[in-house]
Structures are given as C-alpha cells and as structure tokens.
Symmetry: C2
Subunit: 559 residues, 2 copies
C-alpha cells in the first residue's frame, strides 16, 4: 500500500489553528504521508508559528460540521490539543479521514523513522552507544560468578529477551534451556544490576509456570540457589498480590514456593499495570484538561485518577528492592507475571536510586536501553494509544511514563543528583509515543532485528547527544552524588508532574525562563572563571574556587 | 505579677528532646520567664542542637505520665512539634504547668519584646522606616485630589485606623466625622493605593451602617462620589455574599445600595474569615502531620481542609480588584463587615500584583506596615493561637498567613518578580505568631501607642534588614519587573506551600541547598564580573555583560 493513497485532500487554504496557549494562526494546511503541516499566511506570523505534526502523534480526532465548514480537534499522544477550523465540508471530512487512517497504521515498516533522513546524522551512529556486552563484561570479570551467554542469540529461548544475557557462571546453556521452559515466555532469572559496593545482585524474570499442581524445575531452583552464597538469604519481590498469584496458577503460572526455594523470602507488592493503569492515565489527563474547575473538584479528580498512588507504590517498591540490596546486603529477584512491565519499573528505578552512573544523561540512556528496550518492554503495544483514544484498548498502558514520572520525583527531591532535567524526561516520553527515531519502535529486540530498525532508522540517543540538543537536557545544578538517594515516599512529598501533564495548558514560560537564567548564571560562572584564570593573581582565584568547592561538598547528602 | 512566680521548676537534667527531623538530644532543660532552653550535655552535640524556644511560640501542650517520668509534647505556633522526655513525675508536671501559664499570658506588656535588648540594635531604629506620611505625601502632591488628614490623631474617630489618613481633598474633617459615624468602627472610605499608570485609586473601608431601614449618609455618598471623576464608574467589591449582607442589616450593618450610590457597581466575592478559616488551617495542619497516610487519604484530607480553595478565592478576588483598576480603569472600594480581615487580603494582594514597588523586600515590608499594621488588622487576637490549640477559639484566624501564602503562589508563578524569598515569607508568619520583636504586638496602632511599643520594643524590620539577615531573605533571580503580574488562579496552577506547612516534617535540606547553590552562582557571577573589570580587555567584558542583559530583558513578561 502506498501511504499517498490514504490522502484524499493534500492541501487546504485558510485553515485556522487554535491551541490553549499561544495565538491562533491562519494558514495553509498540507497533508503528507507522515506529517500534517500548517504554514502561516505570509505576514501572518513567524516561522515559530508553523505546525509540523507527525500523524503518529495523533491519538484521537473529533469532527464537527457546520453548513460549509468543519472543525477538527486533534488530541495528541504528547497530550497537546489542536483545533483546526477548515473551510469546506468535503475538505474537512477528507482531512479528518486521512489523518485517521495515517495515524493508526499498524505496520511498523511504514512508520516515519524508516523514511526520516536528517542531514548530518549517520544511520549507524547512536546504535552502538550502549552495548550490553560493555555493561556485562566488567561484571563477569569482577565477580567471577557470572558469565555472558548467547543462548538467546536467535531469540528461540525467549522471544522477548535480548540476544545477550548475563547468568550465573555455574549454569550451562542446557540448564538455562530447562529454566526458560519453566518461566513465562522463556524469561528465566537473569542479572539486571550488580551492586558493586557489597556484591549483591538484582535479578529479574517472569513468573515460574508452576500451574495448579505446583510443578517444579530443578534447574530453576539451582539457578536461584547458585546466586546466593551458601547460607545467605534472598528476597523475591512479586509485583502481584498473593490473591493474583493464586489466580495465576489456574492459568498455568504461579510463584516460587517457600518449600522449593527455602533461602528466598517472598514479598508481595502489588503494582497496577494494564487496564487500570491506563484508565488512571486517562482520568488524570481528563482532569488536567478540564477548565474552570473549582479547587475541591480538581483535588478530588486528581485523587480519583489514582495516578499519584501509582507513583507512590512504584517508588516504594523500588526503595524496598534498593533497601534489600544496600542495607540488608541481600540479593533480590523481581517479577510479576510476564516480567516486562512493573518488573522493569522496579528494577530500573532501584538502579537510579542506588547507582550514580544511572543518574548521568548517558547512564540513564544506557539504563533505558538495557532495562526497557533490550529487556523487552513492548513499547509498540503499550504506547500505541495514549490518554485520548476512544478505540477499545488492548495492550496500552503508561508503564514507561510512570517510570519517568518516578524519576522526575527523584529529581525534584534531589535537585543536584540527576544530570538530566525535566525537559529530557518529557522528551523521552514523547518519543516513546511518537517519534522520528527508531529507538522505541517494536516490542522487543527480536522484532527490531526483523524490521532492521538499527540499519534503517536513526537512533534517538544520537540526536539527543548532539551538543545543541544535549545542552537543553542538562540540569545546571548537577554534581555527581556518589551516595544512594533515598526518596521520601510520603504522599505529602510527591506531587503532580506539572511540567509534563500540564505543559500545553498552563504557561510555564516564567519557570522555563527561570531555568534558563540559572543555566546562564552557572555557565557565566564557569566562563568567568576561565577568563579570570589568565589574568588575575592565582591566590584570589583559588579563594573563589575554594568557596565554591565548600558549597559543593556541603551538598553531598547522606541517606 | 512576677513571671518568675509561674516557674515551679527552673531546671531538670537528663531531658530527652525529640523532633521529626534531626537526631534526639539529651541535655539540661531550663525554664526562664520567656524561654524554654535545652542545652545538650557536654560532648553530646554541637551548639546547633541547642533549643531556644519562646514560651509564646507554644500553642498547645500534651502531657503523658509513666511511673517515674513524663513526656511533654509541645505543639508550636510555627507548626513545629517537640517531644520532651523528663525524668521525675513532679518535675514533668511542674514544667508543663509553667509552660502552660507562661505561654498563655494575655497581657501584652509582659511579653518578651518588652524585655529583649539585643546588642547592636537601637530601640528606635526600624520604627521610622515606613512612615505613612512618606507614602501619602507624593500621592497628594501628584493628584491634587487627595489630602492628608490627622482627624484620627487621637484615635477618637476610629480606634482601629491609623492616626494619619489620606482622603479626598474636597472632604473637610467635619464631613469625615459624619462619614465615620456611618461606618462600622468609624472606618470610612480612605485611600489604600494610587495606581499611577492611569490615576485610578483603590479604597478600603468597613460596611456602611444602613441597618434594616436603609439609613443613608449624605457625606458618605459625597465622599464616594468625589472619588469618581464626573461620569466615571467605580466598583465596590464586597467580600461577603449577598445573603450575608442582608443578614448584616438586621444587626445594623449593610452595604451600599444602587439607588444611593448610582455610579458604583457592587460585586460580591465572599471570602471566608473567622471560624471556618481557622478550622481550615487546623485541618490542613492535621493532614500535614499525619504519618503513613496513603495517597488517596492525603489528597482527600487536603481537599477537605479547603485551604487551597481559600487561596484560590483570595487570589481571584485580588485579581478582580487589580483588573478593575488596570484594565477597566475604574476606581475600586473594598470592604466586608469590619474591614480589618479579608478586605486587607484583597487590597494588599492586588498591590503586589499591580505595583513593582511592593515586590521589593523593603516595599513589601512597607506594604505590611501600611495595609496590615496601620490598617488595624487585629494581630493580637487573630494570632493568639495557631493550628494546635484545643482551647475554645474566639477571634483567631489565619488571615495574614493566607495573604502570605497567596504571595508565595505569586512568587512561584513569577520566579523573577519578587525580591524576597520563601524564607522571608515564612519568617514573617512566625514573627506574627510569636516574636522577640514588637512589630506584630497589639491589635492596632492605638493599642501600640498605649503600650509604647515603638519606645520599648525593637522593630522586626530593623533586624530583617541587617545585611547578615537581609541576604538570606533575597531571591537570587530577582529582576525588577515593571509589569503587572497576573497570576493563574486555575486550581491546577496552585499548590500547597510545602516550605511552610511541611517545613518541620519533610526534609527540605536538598531544596535549601539548591537555593543556596543558585545564590552562590549568582553572587559568583557578580563577583567574577567585578574582578574581571580591572583586568580583562573592555570589549570582552562588554560582550559578556550584553549577553547577560539579553537574558534579562527576555525575562520581562507580558501579562
């Protein structure tokens, strides 16, 4: 199919674009295979008023017709609301139908990243930034207890796992095969994070398929036993309730029994995923968009959405995992049912809490690559629709958004400790839902290989790391903090991520200016320091630097 | 009475002090006439762990006794919670009784400000910083329509008004006397703010005493008519509901009728004061202090407290007054019943919105002096108890706190436009409730004169303006913004003032550090700039300065 066949009207003049912030713009609307463009009439406005919208970003379309014109409201996955007043009923209908068709393509290969060829970027750049091997190899070398395994190189062991895994050294590939057949989707326990400070490890997997009769797997028990050093104790954090694990047994699933895994203590910390989480997202966005609410109604809608409860539960569970590793000095295995959703929130978030390397811009990108993309979070399914779509939802859920929201909460509580800023997190969400880059395409590495994503699309990281973009994503106050950052998870400490959820509704112009101004002061300080070096007596300079160092060292926090 | 008679035990050793943040401290507890002191045992801790607490700051005391010891919980007006474990039941009881007696003295002359004699501060300094005359004189000179009147010099016209007032030039003192007898408490309409940009004025008064039969007062009508220039229209903002004004008529009060004040349009914007507002404060503080709440319960308690609704309503009404003045170019009169509570929130807040002079540190102090202290807000009554007291409340209400919370919201929305920071606002609240300084003593200027507050106590402003304190209260990002700052009053835009309400509960250490770090960068930039001046080629410097100026000019916002 040619995408151009779906375009019934390519161009309409005198279209009026309105959005909550900013002035309305009149101009010419064009529909291309991947974009909707609106160019202001000459003299009407500057270039910045031009609209370039990926069809893929459109979550829902609403149409209203008057006698000879029509209004289309585009509700975007990045939560933006755009209204187009289009002269001519037929044109309006054609435009709406075209966008509807072009925004809901299911074939990955037809998506824009396969056609996007920006100048100055090389296709292969960015795809080799974060190799699993580079992360796993030092762990294997350091510990002598883990080895890299290519058992899943052709994705036959687990279609959702990466081709390279890190597993206990004593487990040969044959045993791993047995373990895989005992775990949902072949996701047997693998290493997710090695806590250097005390040598404990964080593992993740899917549920064991014990079924109603309590089936066992010697190799699986052996694997988990091998992780513990003799008499040590480990913790299994199951992200489902005990009730849910019982129900899972009827469908062949289950959890690790005390009898068969005697050294592992199971903790149940139910985290919502799937439909209920998606509904929470929808309700929150509805509340955010509602105008002229009174305060009571806003707070009660915010509460009813339960979004902040999900944030709190996710952070609490990640803290629990981190505490087991850091304070109890115990190994931890995390899983729910399939091990591709809430499991990853817990493993990824606890790494941000524990590991300063994950708090740098590149370290955080590597974490997303490792714990979300390679770990098989089904981005294509989860982010197919966002909060506005009326279509019956199947696999959609804002799991990844919830993770990034939790990271934002960490950044707010520890303003020095994350190298990246809110804008970076927001941009990552947007790219997960609709992007020019191939990074978040498909559901797992297997699909990405089939579609040749690495060969045929550009990497988001490559674009984000160009100096011009990079600068915008940095937290000017960042100082590497070697300590664990224990967040407060009291409800009083958490708050709505307004910079994301209200970004198109409330003017955050002044706050953005404040950020820019702080950046400027920081850069100015650095520049002035350089400039002065050459000319001012060494001693004076030293004094100034010392006074700065003082303040920095005082900003290192204890947990 | 000698205060020392109220002290039954002056000293107890081995008292353990615990508080939500920070480590417990063991030491010697001493009770003096005005303070409770706890000095850590030698070697136990540094000086910073020492506790100095004004008895006046204690809002409520809770006692619990075990066999041979007791526990006292001190709930302070600044919202701090302190627990003292005291060995010896009799000692514990004595201490509790002493604090109870010393914290609830009703006689102003016995309070600490009359005894506080810090080194290096002169008694008279600070009291002459903000003379009403200095503020009124230029207005009288500029407009030729207003004159200063000393009619209330001996407080016989209105016991709650200042001795100096600014009134329409055409009204002689005889007519003013008639007006005063027609208004509740003698508070006839006076000028509160002159909006230079277009010559409109903001007036405030108390309700007219029309009573059930619609009594009139020619002079009052004349006064309000004189304010308007011929055919112009003015707005009366009544801070009560229409229902409440009707009820007020039964008790002799009322409001301006359309018939008798034909050029004034009345708008009712009911704002809560008194008991309901105090209960809102109590509920909010209860919710803040409650631990291990889940998210739903926290949000529903936050909603149930209605505090943020009061913030929203106050800000909205102040915006309305500001809009009438700035956009409608109309004069505005604000009053409720007595004109000493919600009236002042509206007049003071609209000045912060409209007038850049009120957004400087000294301008804001002058505003508090003019619109709260001299305008007769009964601080002694309103701040006698805060959110913890169980005693039957009579006149307590957090009106002034509500005003400062609204100012905090303005500062959050306009991070460049207020010269002072959150710490300053928080410190002002604390001093209004319990202070070493005389500024917030008594209910009005008349009482302050009777008690010789100016002669016998120190001024808070004098202390706050010493360079060492002053620095701490400044917003490092401040740039004078000549424009009106129109806040968003959408509920989504407002938020809980955590830096005040949760200051003793959540560790804001990191946020404080972030603020300090920003300050340091700003100061460093400034210093570096100075340092460079002497040594670097002029041209380079100019370039740097320009690039800074650029950023500053870009930060001037349009409404």
């Amino acid at each position: 199919m040619e995408l151009s066949e779906l375009i019934k009207t390519t161009q309409v003049d005198n279209v009026l674009l309105s959005r909550p912030l900013g002035p309305p713009v009149k101009g010419t609307l064009c529909i291309t295979s991947h974009h909707l463009l609106l160019s202001p009439q000459p003299g009407e406005g500057e270039e910045e008023l031009e609209l370039w919208l990926l069809h893929r970003n459109v979550d829902a379309i609403e149409k209203r017709f008057a006698s000879s014109s029509g209004t289309i409201t585009l509700k975007c996955k990045d939560l933006q609301l755009l209204r187009l007043d289009i002269p001519g009923m037929e044109e309006c209908l054609n435009i709406a139908n075209s966008i509807e068709a072009l925004s809901s393509l299911d074939s990955v290969m037809l998506m824009y990243p396969f056609f996007f060829r920006p100048e100055g970027l090389k296709l292969e750049a960015g795809w080799h930034l974060y190799h699993l091997e580079d992360y796993f190899q030092p762990i294997a070398a350091d510990t002598d207890a883990w080895r890299l395994s290519a058992i899943n190189r052709d994705f036959t062991i687990s279609p959702t796992y990466a081709p390279l895994l890190i597993v206990p050294k004593c487990m040969d590939d044959e045993s791993l095969r047995a373990c895989a057949s005992f775990r949902h989707g072949g996701r047997f326990p693998v290493l997710s994070y090695y806590h250097k400070r005390n040598g404990t490890v964080l593992l993740r997997s899917s549920q064991p398929m014990t079924g109603p009769n309590g089936k066992r797997c010697k190799e699986d028990e052996m694997l988990l036993s091998a992780v513990l050093d003799g008499g040590e104790r480990g913790y299994i954090i199951d992200t489902r309730s005990t009730q849910a694990t019982k129900q899972a047994r009827i469908r062949g699933g289950g959890t690790e029994s005390k009898a068969n895994y005697p050294h592992w203590k199971r903790l149940h910390r139910p985290l919502e995923r799937g439909r209920l989480l998606q509904e929470s997202f929808i309700k929150l966005v509805e509340a955010c968009n509602e105008q002229s609410l009174n305060m009571d109604r806003w707070l009660s809608k915010l509460e009813a959405s339960k979004w902040l409860s999900h944030v709190k539960e996710s952070l609490s569970t990640a803290c629990l995992a981190a505490q087991c590793l850091e304070r109890e000095e115990a190994c931890v295995l995390v899983h729910g049912s399939e091990g591709v959703d809430t499991t990853l929130i817990v493993t990824a978030l606890s790494q941000v809490i524990l590991d300063p390397d994950c708090r740098t811009l590149s370290g955080f990108q590597a974490l997303i690559e490792r714990e979300w993309l390679q770990a098989g979070h089904p981005f294509h399914q989860r982010c197919a629709r966002a909060a506005y779509s009326h279509s019956r939802l199947k696999h959609e859920a804002p799991i990844f958004l919830l993770f990034l929201d939790c990271c934002w909460q960490l950044g707010r509580q520890f303003p020095f400790s994350l190298e990246f800023n809110e804008r970076f997190l927001s941009s990552v969400v947007q790219n997960a839902y609709a992007s020019e880059y191939g990074t978040f395409l498909c559901n797992n590495e297997r699909e990405r290989c089939l579609c040749q994503v690495r060969e045929k699309t550009h990497s988001l990281w490559c674009w984000m790391n160009r100096p011009s973009a990079h600068r915008k994503f940095l937290n000017p106050l960042y100082r590497r903090n070697p300590l664990v950052i224990w967040p407060s998870v009291e409800p009083q400490s958490l708050q709505l991520w307004k910079g994301f959820f209200l970004q198109w509704i409330l003017s955050t112009e002044h706050l953005t200016h404040a950020q820019a101004e702080i950046c400027r002061f920081v850069n100015f300080s650095a520049e002035a320091l350089q400039l002065t070096t050459a000319t001012v007596a060494r001693s004076e300079l030293q004094e100034m630097e010392n006074s700065r160092e003082d303040s920095i060292s005082r900003c290192v926090f204890s947990p």
